[in-house]
Amino acid sequence: MIRLEINGKRHKVEVDPDVPLLWVIREHIGLTGTKYGCGIAQCGACTVLIDGKAQRSCQTPVKNVQGKKITTIEGIPERHPVIKAWIAEDVPQCGYCQSGQIMEAVALLKSNPAPNDADIDHTLSGNICRCGTYQRIRRAIHRASSMMAKGGKR
C-alpha cells in the first residue's frame, strides 16, 4: 500500500512500488492532466511539483514520493498568475505539453520571481512543445512575473 498526498488530498493506492508516479496519478488517482510524452525524462510533459520542485513523474518511482507533497496541474488554482498569463497570451495549440510547461513555469517563478530570457531558456528547455509555442510561453512567463510583482502574488 502506497500513501500519497496529491493536491492536498491523501490517497492510498495498491500498486507496485516501482511504478512511475505518472501512471499512478493518471490511472489510479484519475488525474489525467499530467501527460505521458516520452517516459524517459526527455520531454517534460509529465512534470509535477514534488515538495515544490518540478520533477519528471515518468522517472519517479511511486515509492520515492511517500510523505512528500505532490502538486499536479489540477492543483494549480485558476487565479494563479501563470494560468492567467497563459490565457492572456493564448499559449496552447494542441495543448498536450502545456500542463508540463505550466508546472515548470510555476516552479521557476517561485524560485526566481523575475526570470530573464536566459533563465527561461535554462529552465524550460527540458520541456518540448511539438506545436512550437515557445515564443508565447516565454511571453507568458514574463507576463506572469510582472503580474506577481504588481501584487497578484501567490
Binding site: 507496485d16 512511475p20 516520452c38 493564448d90 494542441c94 495543448g95 498536450y96 512543445c129 506545436c131 508565447r136
Partner: protein, 722 residues
Amino acid sequence: MSNFINISRRDFLKTGAVIGGGLVLGFSVPLRYPLAEGTTPSPSFAPNAFIRIGTDNRVTIIVNKSEMGQGVYTSLPMLVAEELECDWSNIRVEPAPVDPAYNHTEWGNAQGTGGSSSVRSTWKQFRKAGATARAMLVKAAADIWNVDEAGCRAEKGYVIHDATKRKLAYGKLVRKAAQMETPQDVPLKEPKDFKIIGRSMKRLDTPEKVNGKGIFGMDAKIAGMLAAVVARPPVFGGKVKSFNADKAKALGGVKEVVQINSGVAVVADHFWQASRGRDALEIIWEEGDNSGFSTAGMREEYARLARTPGAVAKKKGEPEQAIAKAARQIHAEYEVPYLAHAPMEPLNCLVDLRDESCEIWTGTQFQTADRNAAAKVSGLKPEQVKIHTMLLGGGFGRRANPHSDFVAEAVHIAKAIKKPVKVIWTREDDMRGGYYRPMWYDRISAGLDGNGSITAWQHTIVGQSIISGTPFEQVMVKNGIDATSVEGARDIPYDIPNVFVDLHSPKIGVPVLWWRSVGHSHTAFVVESFMDELAHAAGKDPYEFRRALLTNHPRHKAVLELAAQKAGWGTPLPEGRARGIAVHQSFGSFVAQVAEVSVKPSGEVRVHKVVCAIDCGRFVNPDTVEAQMESAIVFGLTAALYGAITFKNGRVEQSNFHDYEMLRMKEMPKVEVYIMPSQESPQGVGEPGVPPVAPAVCNAIFSGTGKRIRRLPIRAEELKRA
C-alpha cells in the same frame, strides 16, 4: 451541403433521417469538459447539423474538424457566430459524430481534417448555417410580435424590434423556431460588415488546456477498461513466427496476451503492467523481405534512379536543348530523409466493442476511414460504429491514415479479448511505427545565359508515393504521377522558358504518409535552395534575382517584398550573422521567410530570427494565423536541424526524443509574422509556413559561410571550420 433542413422538427425526425435522430436526441459527448459541459435543455432548436440552441441561450456549435492545435474549435465557430449574431460568450463546441452531414465539402464521401483546408472548405457552409438559423429566429420573433420581419434585427443573442423597442433572447425563440420551415438561400453578409471574422478572438479551448481538464484520446476512460500495448515486428512487413507468453502472464496485472495481425498484444489492468508484460514476451519474428534494408543502400539506389528518366510531370519548351546550349550549366543533387510526425501525444485508441455496437474514443483526423476500418474488423455495419473525436495532442497528418492503422489494430484487440480496451503506443512505438514523410532524392540542373538569366530548368525527383495504395489513388495519381510528389516542383512560379520535371516512385517497404505540408516539405527546400545557388552563380542578390522572375506571380512577389522589407534585407547585421530568403506557395497560401543565422566554429547553427510574411487570402482569426506561422517555423526548423529517421538491417534507428530531437526553448528564434491584408478567398494556414523554413535557413548559412547545404538535416561536420 446543399440544403439545410430543420432537424428539430418532429416531422423530419419521423422520417428517420440519420442526422436528425442521432444529433438532437441521442448525441452526447462523454468525457469532454468544459467546452461541451452539460447538455442542451430540451426542447432545443437545431436548424442544421452544425448548430443547436437551447432555451438557456447557449449556442452549441458542432464542429466536424478535429482540433489538433490549429484552432478550428475557435475559427469555425467564428464563422457561424458572424452570421448568427449570437453572444460569443454563450458559445460552446462539440465534436461532430461521424455522419454524411459532416463530410468534407471537398473530399467526396469522407469526413476528415487535413490539407490546411478547414477554413477554406467551411467558409460558406458554416456562415450559411449561422445565417439560416438567424433568419429563422428573426422570423420567429416577428411572428410572436406580429410585426414585419424587415423591422427586426438580430444582435448578441437577441432579436430586436426597434420600432417598439422590444427584444427577445434566442432562448425564448427556440420552441417557435424549431417548428418552422427552413428558408433557403439566406443571403450572407458582405465582408465589409464582418464584426468577428478577421479579428483576433481568444481561443475557446485555452481554458481547458491550462487546467488539465481537456480530454485527449490518451485520457479517455470508460468503466471496465483494460490497457494494452503491442509488440510489433522490428522490421516493416515482418510477422510473428512464434511466441511464448508464460513469463508475461506470470506478471501481476497481465490479463491476456493475444496475437493479432500487427503483432502480439499484452493486455493488463494498467499500462505499466502491460508494458512490463511486453518486455517479458519471447517472440520469434519472421522478418520478411525488408530485413536487409538500410538508408545507405537506399541513398545509392535513389541516386542511381535520379540519373534515369522518370515519369514526366511537366514539360514546357525544350529544356534539354536549352540546357545544352546555355552559357553556363549548374547541377546539384539534394536529399532529405524520412521523418516521423512525432505528435506530442503518442498514438492511442480506446475501443468498446459489443455485439451490436462499437464505440471508439481517439484523436483522429480521418473519421470516415477509421469508422469504416472499425466496421470491417468488427464485422458490424458502419452505422453501428460510433467515433468520439477527442482532443488531438498534435496530428501533423499522422492521425489521418487512410489505412487506419491505430484504430483497426485496437478493434482487433477488443475483438480478441471481448473487453473494452485502450491501446497505448509508447513514444518508441510511435517513433518506430512507420507512416513517415518519405525520403527524397532530387537531381536538378539549370542553364544560365550570359546575363545570368535562367534559360532552362530540369528537375528529377525520386521518392515513394504516399497516395498509391490508398482510396485517393484514382483522383491523385495520374499517368504515374502522384500529385503530392511533385507539388511545389512542377508549378514553380519563376518565369523560366524551358522547364522539365520527372518523377520516380520506387516501391519500398516503409509505410509513408502525408507529413505537415506533404510534398512541399521537400520540394520547397530543393527549389528555393537551388534558386539561391543560381542567384549566386549569376552574381545577383538572391532577393532581387527571385523578384525579377515573379512579375507574373504578384502574390508571391508581394510576400517576398514584405518579408524582405520587414527583415531589413540588405541592411548590415551584427558580426557573424547572415540572412537567407525563400518564398513558396502551398495549400493556396503564399509565404516568404527571411532567416537570420550564425554558425559557430564547431559548425553548430543558431537561428536567431525568422521574419515571415503570409498571404492566405481572407483570414478568420489573425492571432491563430500568427500562432500557426510560429508553429510551422518550429516544425520546419526541427526537421532542418535534427530530423532523420534512418534504417539499418531493416530497423528504425531512432526511438525517442534523445535521438529524434525536437527544437527546444533555448534554440527558439524570435519569430515575426506579417499577414497580408487580402480580399481573396480564404486559404490554408496550418501547413504553408513549413516549406520555406529549411531553404531560408540554408540560404542564410551559404551567405554566411559559403557552404551549401544539399542534404538535410544540417550536419555540423559539414560546416565546421578547422
